[in-house]
């Protein structure tokens, strides 16, 4: 009984935080957009500036509600939002919800693959490095992680693009589907091949933090008294890790992995840009550069929910995996 109540309270509390987070984030983004030097009308007119008279300019302002005061615009937007309407994107001239939905499907697959890969490989590398501490292998892994941690995502993306796309010609240089192929001919294999490079980029950079943290945590564990005791009983190698190390290091790793949703999202923006991959990142860049307030706010909220979900899942998993946390919650 208390358990169910505890969970209900937990979820309720989280929801409350999510709502306040969304309100805060959208208001803040809106204010930032007001201070942004991008003039949405100019960005909208773009190349055709010369053809547009002052009269036409005010027509455009009116059409997109840009002649209203910022507060009015925010309120109008908020009211529509409560009724489930995210507004219409200025640049895509489509409902924001449609754009996000379409883009999300592409991005989510990309990010999921990258996330799984970086989690599994990062954890494995961290464990190996800690178990073989100060060996050549450990140093190699550390060097690799430090190098990657200090490398910008777009640079890795370009490197991969050049090597595998241009020099070797093994993989496509961009896009999410083969050029010129009609939709019904595109197979899952095609999509997967186009996803390899962006996903590899994202997971390569994601590996570093999880590997280094896992290594540190496992090193601490290995220096503890109970490990000394276990060693004294003759346990060693994988057995030692499985019996006494795994539970200790998997928790921080999982938390970190879910908490890395924000980096994942940020990385996707850059990787998608380099590979012309039609995901949320590409749309975010466009919306930001062209002062498309409705689209940017929609994307900001979407990414806030995404990151929030990551953190919440980490919390819940923590409670499920570690019984001590569960008791804390129930009491």
């Amino acid at each position: 009984m208390t358990g169910r109540n505890g969970w209900a309270r937990f979820v309720g509390f989280k929801m409350l935080r999510l709502v306040s987070l969304l309100v805060g984030v959208s208001v803040l983004s809106f204010i930032l957009m007001q201070f942004s030097p991008v003039d949405p009308i100019e960005a909208y007119i773009g190349g055709d500036m010369i053809r547009v008279s002052a009269e036409q300019r005010s027509l455009i302002e009116e059409r997109w509600g840009l002649n209203e005061s910022p507060t009015e615009r925010l309120l109008t937007w908020g009211q529509a939002l409560i009724q489930g309407d995210l507004g219409t994107s200025m640049i895509y001239r489509q409902p924001v919800a449609d754009i996000i939905q379409e883009r999300f499907m592409n991005s989510v697959a990309l990010m999921a693959v990258a996330w799984l890969l970086s989690g599994i490989f990062g954890f494995a590398l961290g464990v190996v490095a800690a178990m073989r501490r100060d060996s050549k292998l450990d140093r190699l892994i550390c060097w690799y992680c430090y190098t990657l941690a200090s490398t910008p995502v777009f640079w890795i993306a370009l490197l991969l693009l050049m090597v595998f796309g241009v020099w070797l010609g093994w993989l496509p240089v961009g896009l999410g589907v083969p050029a010129g192929m009609s939709a019904d001919q595109v197979t899952w294999g095609d999509r997967a091949i186009h996803m390899i490079l962006p996903a590899l980029t994202l997971s390569l950079t994601g590996v570093a933090s999880i590997a280094l943290h896992t290594r540190q945590k496992l090193t601490d564990v290995l220096e503890s008294d109970y490990i000394l005791f276990a060693r004294a009983r003759g346990e060693h190698g994988f057995q030692l890790f499985r019996r006494h190390g795994f539970r200790h290091v998997v928790l921080p790793a999982i938390t970190l992995q879910f908490a890395s949703f924000s980096e994942l999202f940020g990385g996707a923006v850059l990787a998608e840009q380099v590979f012309s991959y039609p995901g949320l990142g590409q749309a975010t860049v466009q919306a930001g550069l062209r002062g498309d307030a409705p689209l940017l706010l929609g994307l900001v909220m979407c990414s806030a929910i995404f990151v929030f979900t990551g953190n919440m899942v980490a919390d819940i998993l923590y409670r499920m995996i570690d019984p001590r946390m569960k008791e804390e919650l129930m009491s």
Partner: protein
């Protein structure tokens, strides 16, 4: 102003990316030999190519708003899926498209267009005058970049006749007839931009947003059929487009001049002449004036004719083309070089230091204190030249121009500013701007006193009643041909004008070539002089493109 607005923010990142890419692709030159055979290598061989009726193009950015002409699609290049009433040929002469004839009333207010009667939309329905009326009315209401504020009314008295009524005479109204694609009233709806139906040479088969558009020849098209049945437009950044060309994925790719030195296997570099120009705009009023928005305007140095003419005449435009544009460009002497409405007499001999010194001396500018900078009434010949920070070409042009005018005794301080800052400072500082359009209305907007201090129009607050009257005559002319001499006279009528010989409110520097990597053997026909904005204009003459078996 080109397509800057949606690119500029990216510029810094993109420049970085570009440099990296160029460096690394430079290295790849050695690896090319070992690379597996790519499709472009095969394309390069005559015989195998003559049957290929599909092309992959990376020539421009995605029209995110979709393919609806009433909201701006087709303003550059051809609308592809729709046809226009008139169009411009390779020499920029007007030719009929949907129209068979058109006439303008004596007072310039009534335009009557007669349509062909054999035109069908790609869904098989006939195109009538009602559709034209519907298109113009929709465009006028759309709150988009199509400026129809001067159109009072449009009527379709019968199936083949359309009558436009204007609020005031406007000979440049013709540009709307050449750029606005006609949409079908019966098939127009909320999702038209994604599923366009039109009477153009191609129809849209599939649009993968953020990636590509696949188009196929329109069987119902009344005009010359293109040699290519299917086209795929990839929406790639310039860097990615270049990588795609290297990888042999595309048949034609638009590239920036920075990449022009690199060879790409199986592809040839084609440079297309443009009026995509860059020039220095001078504030024309003495300091202390105010712009329309109440911003400080005017500059005591640039408001002096001798300074403006000296800057104009001392700059070596050929050297700018060679040095900054890698040779891909040509000197600019006006906003509309080689377009029908530009005045050939306004061209002058530049790189002439002696002439600059003479002009300055006779204007009263002398270097009395021997610091290398001339003065007049205690004012030093020194002013700022602003450019949009992050635009490498503009930066290089500004710096090179400043170096070139220094020997004449004029000191230019070059400063990179954001667009917002520039907008505020432009009324009182010289700015490196870029224009270039197939519409003489641009000339009007830049030089007429009507548009003084309005946004980016006539930022220098230039005003010359004689020029104004010539341009008003040009607008009131009933045909483009009749208007031409007036436009030319506004530039230079023998005594005054906005050319170097006249008031010299600008020092035009260069016209930048548009560069395309084209698969060997692909002939892209005779290209028009492109307007400002890279990419889409190349598709204007798609029906002329063909495989040329004689080239290897």
């Amino acid at each position: 102003m080109g397509r800057f607005s949606w690119r500029w923010g990216k510029r810094k990142v993109r420049t970085g990316l570009g440099i990296l890419l160029v460096c690394s692709i430079g290295l790849s030159g050695c690896a090319q030999g070992t690379a597996p055979a790519t499709s472009s290598a095969e394309n390069g061989q005559p015989g195998t190519t003559s049957t290929k009726d599909e092309l992959v193009l990376a020539v421009g950015t995605e029209p995110e708003g979709g393919f609806d002409p009433t909201t701006g699609w087709g303003q550059y290049g051809s609308p592809l899926f729709q046809s226009t009433l008139l169009k411009r040929d390779a020499k920029l002469q007007l030719v009929n498209d949907l129209a068979t004839t058109y006439s303008v009333s004596e007072d310039g207010l009534t335009w009557t267009v007669t349509l062909r009667d054999d035109v069908k939309f790609s869904d098989g329905e006939p195109l009538t005058a009602e559709d034209v009326k519907f298109t113009f009315e929709t465009a006028a209401k759309s709150g988009s970049v199509i400026d129809l504020t001067n159109m009072a009314d449009v009527q379709a008295p019968d199936d083949r006749t359309v009558v436009f009524t204007l609020k005031s005479p406007q000979s440049t109204f013709i540009s709307l007839l050449t750029t606005l694609g006609i949409v079908p009233e019966h098939a127009y709806g909320a999702d038209y931009a994604e599923h366009p139906v039109g009477s153009g040479p191609y129809k849209l088969v599939q649009w993968d947003k953020g990636q590509q558009a696949i188009v196929e020849a329109n069987e119902e098209y009344y005009g010359n059929k293109s040699a290519f049945h299917k086209l795929t437009f990839l929406y790639l950044d310039e860097d990615a487009a270049y990588a795609a060309a290297q990888a042999g994925t595309v048949d034609i790719a638009a590239i920036p001049a920075a990449f022009s030195k690199q060879q790409v296997n199986g592809m040839t570099l084609e440079a297309v002449k443009t009026v995509d120009n860059r020039g220095i705009m001078f504030p024309m009023q003495p300091a202390g004036a105010k712009s329309g928005d109440g911003l400080p305007a005017g500059n005591d140095v640039t408001s002096d004719l001798a300074i403006r003419q000296a800057v104009n005449v001392v700059i070596d435009r050929k050297a700018l083309v060679e040095g900054v544009l890698e040779g891909y460009g040509r000197p600019a002497y006006s906003v509309s070089d080689d377009l029908p409405w530009s005045n050939a007499e306004a061209v002058f001999t530049d790189a002439n230091l002696e002439e600059a010194k003479r002009i300055l001396a006779s204007g009263g500018w002398v270097d009395a204190d021997g610091d290398g900078i001339v003065e007049k009434n205690g004012v030093k010949a020194e002013f700022n030249l602003l450019y949009f920070a992050g635009d490498l070409t503009r930066q290089s042009l500004a710096l090179a121009a400043a170096d070139m005018v220094a020997p004449a005794g004029i000191k230019i301080n070059v400063e990179g500013k954001s667009r917002e800052e520039t907008k505020k400072l432009a009324y009182s500082n010289a700015v490196l701007f870029g224009w270039g359009s197939h519409d003489p209305l641009e000339t009007y907007n830049l030089y007429s006193s009507t548009h003084k201090g309005e946004g980016y129009y006539n930022v220098g607050l230039y005003s010359n009643p004689v020029v104004d009257s010539w341009m008003d005559k040009a607008l009131q002319a009933t045909s483009e041909e009749d208007a031409l001499p007036f436009w030319q006279k506004a530039e230079w009528d023998g005594t005054t004008g906005f050319s170097y010989q006249g008031d010299a409110p600008w020092a035009w520097l260069v016209n930048i070539d548009h560069l395309y990597l084209v698969t060997n053997g692909l002939n892209i026909g005779e290209q028009q002089i492109h307007p400002h904005g890279h990419g889409w204009p190349v598709t204007t003459n798609l029906e002329e493109w063909s495989w040329d078996n004689s080239t290897k």
